[in-house]
């Protein structure tokens, strides 16, 4: 292999898998390249909170021996990845970025972690996040906040902040994030990568520190749609340990990656997502309108659609999230409140101040909006929106208030549980990434992936890398 170390870090999973399978690339060489790049740039990014160089190299050597002896397991075999630090990893520190659990070492793997291990991935380390997956980039949490590789003065989004930053900067080939109000799709949007929150019940949450049981979704974050399909294939499916998972057959996601959307119907819920006043950045809207033109030019039909009570999704998402989070953290909030970082503590305490009536109303509103989205998706194949109203904010002066106030373009699909992907959708004039969100019918991940892939191949935004 004559590829340079830096080029190795910018291979996609799909490209690396072909080379590994054909024995043109050594998993040892690949893992070493990533460890070198992490050593070179992660001091600036702070994407990793626990690095596992010795373990990773041991895995890489074992992988090399397996592949050499003809025991190639599949497209994730030998692929270096990272995990958000709320995925339980047997024998490895799992802090959820909190001083409440600074030395927690689980005695078993999360189901998704075990599946990726079985598929042969190489774990480089655990990734930064917002404390307990809520609040914001809080300097008072256990580790310093991760930074955005497109602009180190900005946040990479959250709560899967390290996952977004690490994948974008070529510090790992893929990562797992978790998403309760947008925590996979937000960082994907801010870092110009792909992040997929699949249908509620599609991927097991077992062994993942919960934020809101009824809205938490685990999912992949990668450079391209193809790579997202590969990781999703590795983690999707019913899990007897997680009663919220659905016993629905898992299709072959890579088969859905056909660059053809002729005749597909795309719904645009313009009123809320495009006309929310000053909260929406004009350059974001221009980029998404351009994306819709691209889809039209590829043969899709674009229609305006209406979700009548979409404004109420934000409070429903928040109340359910904070109420369920308070229930999980109540004891610690009453006995060791000072161990929580300020941003997440505030939000958890607000959850404790909601009433039974608030929570019940939130659940009823949730059902109302879910029904309205079902109605829309009987008329169109998918909905398309911006992923975020604005590009990544500055770290300095960041209060996390945006996670409490203002419109959310991602949370509505946590309350409905519909599959929603964010793909790179362009850049502002200041070279900040913009994300495009595609939302599909329940368990119709293949259609979402197909449209995302078609747009990706036409737009080629994924070819641009951050200047770090």
């Amino acid at each position: 292999m004559t590829t340079t170390s830096s080029e190795l870090c910018y291979l996609t999973i799909s490209q690396a898998a072909s080379l590994l399978r054909e024995r043109q690339l050594s998993p040892v060489e690949l893992t070493e390249a990533f460890l070198r790049r992490i050593a070179a740039v992660d001091g600036q990014l702070r994407a990793f909170v626990t690095l596992l160089p010795e373990r990773a190299m041991e895995q890489a050597r074992r992988t090399e021996s397996e592949i050499q002896s003809g025991r190639y397991r599949g497209p994730l075999h030998g692929i270096p990845i990272g995990l958000k630090d709320l995925y339980d990893t047997r024998g490895i520190l799992t802090t959820a970025m909190s001083r409440v659990t600074p030395d927690r070492i689980p005695d078993q793997d999360a189901t998704t972690v075990a599946k990726l291990d079985q598929a042969g991935t190489i774990l480089l380390g655990k990734l930064a996040m917002h404390e307990f997956a809520l609040g914001g980039a809080d300097p008072t949490s256990l580790f310093p906040p991760a930074r955005n590789p497109w602009d180190l003065e900005r946040i990479p989004g959250g709560s899967s902040s390290g996952s977004g930053a690490a994948v974008a900067a070529g510090l790992c080939m893929g990562a797992l994030g978790s998403d309760t109000g947008g925590s996979i799709r937000g960082p994907a949007s801010f870092c110009s990568i792909v992040g997929f929150k699949t249908t509620y019940g599609r991927v097991s949450n077992y062994g993942v520190v919960p934020l809101s049981w009824s809205q938490d979704h685990c999912g992949p974050m990668t450079w391209t749609v193809e790579d997202t399909a590969l990781i999703l294939q590795g983690i999707a499916g019913h899990d007897p340990k997680d009663p919220t998972t659905a016993d629905v057959p898992v299709p072959d996601y890579s088969q859905s990656l056909v660059a053809d959307i002729k005749g597909m119907k795309i719904g645009v819920p313009r009123r809320y997502f495009f006309e929310s006043g000053p909260d929406v950045e004009p350059e974001t809207l221009v980029a998404i309108e351009e994306a819709l033109k691209v889809m039209t030019s590829l043969g899709a039909e674009v229609h305006d659609v209406e979700i009548p009570h979409i404004e109420y999704a934000r409070p429903a998402n928040q109340v359910i999230m904070m109420g369920e989070a308070f229930a999980f953290h109540e004891h610690n909030l009453k006995t060791r409140r000072e161990d929580y970082g300020e941003m997440v503590r505030d939000r958890f305490l607000l959850g404790g101040l909601t009433t039974m009536g608030d929570y019940v109303q939130a659940q009823r509103v949730r059902q109302l909006i879910k029904d309205e989205m079902d109605q829309v998706l009987q008329e169109v194949d998918v909905m398309v929106t911006p992923t975020s109203p604005k590009p990544a904010p500055m770290l300095e002066g960041y209060s996390g208030a945006s996670t409490l106030l203002g419109p959310s373009f991602t949370g509505p699909f946590n309350i409905s549980g519909l599959p929603a992907i964010s793909v790179p959708g362009g850049f502002t004039s200041s070279r900040l990434p913009i994300g495009l969100q595609i939302v599909g019918r329940p368990f119709d991940e293949p259609t979402v992936l197909r449209i995302a892939y078609t747009y990706q191949q036409a737009s080629r935004w994924f070819e641009q890398r951050p200047p770090i």
Binding site: G357, R364, L404
Partner: protein, 67 residues
């Protein structure tokens, strides 16, 4: 679509809400949390908006017993 307007919440009212929830706050914590709660209360009030459709779904329970 109308939104319910929020009223300002006094520190005494906030203290009562906190105590009802079983949470004890120091005066400094109360001062810090009250403005946030004030903002959050606007969202809570939206959920009780009387203009929401009368046919708003009920909370349901699916009895899925293992046989």
């Amino acid at each position: 679509m109308s939104m319910v307007e929020s009223n300002s919440i006094s520190i005494e009212h906030f203290k009562a809400i906190s105590q009802h929830a079983g949470l004890e706050f120091t005066p400094a914590e109360m001062e810090h949390l009250l403005p946030l709660y004030q903002q959050f209360a606007e969202q809570l009030e939206m959920l009780h908006d009387p203009t929401l459709p009368l046919g708003l779904p009920a909370v349901t329970f699916k009895a899925e017993w293992d046989s």
